[in-house]
Point group: C2
Chain length 166, copies 2
């Protein structure tokens, strides 16, 4: 499989139409993220761009092929733990884009002073993701029985994954 | 120890000064909740009353002695799992108020159609709470190493606690 180099940079507002083009099919499928599957562009912009501390885009051949955000997972005394969400364009899977974004996010998190990274709801049926996050250093810190209602599989377990960055 | 009966009802806006009086010392201490310890009344009102689905007060002898909220822990496909937060007045500990609110919240959660209840960040050093939640049917679903920065103890583990309501 061909693996073109990806470049990752901060999101700029003019990227939004391309970013939404990446997010929308994934949110509509509703198999991996707990966003309402009927979410609209402005709600998605709020969740992906406005609420997070920073948002990034991954580009390949000048096209946005992935995006991720970083934000504190909790305010106050939990604010040293960050949370990230990553989405790869459905047409660009299997090219190392998620791994590249994860690696980038771990570096960014350290730069920004976070001490740990936590994923709150990794859908257990999303086996590729679970495998990748483990490879990237995350531990399964917890398992939430039937915490995700998968549109095809029904209630499936979700994992809490965690990595100390010390 | 005297245990007066508590009554629990929906929060009304006129309760806010008393509710803030219960919340403020607990948030300022910063030992159990990951709210910024310098949080002001209006930020607390947003977090405790506006964002949640419902807020409740526990009264004893006509005084607000505790308060809790209930909200979906996630949107979309995680929306069948609710989250609650409980605070008991620092002067009224050890009288079964937290247990009473927890029991009430489990019934309310079922009434409102939630399928599970999750606590995202139970501070491990808050041993009374951990013990109580276990007694109320919660399992430790996960342990987050050093996820809470305790003002006196430094980084301590936090627990994810979970109960299926099926």
């Amino acid at each position: 499989m061909q693996t073109n180099p990806i470049s990752i940079r901060r999101f700029e507002e003019q990227d939004w139409p391309q970013v939404w083009g990446v997010l929308e099919p994934v949110f509509r499928q509703g198999q991996t993220y707990s966003f309402p599957s009927e979410i609209n562009a402005s709600e998605a912009h709020k969740a992906w761009v406005e609420i997070p501390l920073c948002t990034y885009v991954a580009e390949m051949d000048g096209q946005v092929v992935g995006t991720y955000y970083i934000k504190p997972n909790q305010p106050g005394q939990g604010g040293h733990v960050c949370n990230c969400g990553y989405v790869v364009a459905t047409t660009r899977r299997g090219r190392g884009i998620a791994a590249g974004m994860c690696r980038h996010s771990l570096a960014e998190a350290r730069t920004q002073g976070f001490k740990a990274m936590q994923y709150n709801l990794v859908v257990s049926s999303n086996e590729d993701a679970v495998h990748l996050w483990k490879k990237m250093g995350f531990e399964v810190a917890g398992r939430l029985p039937k915490a995700f209602k998968h549109p095809q599989l029904g209630y499936v377990d979700a994992l809490v994954m965690y990595q100390w960055l010390g």
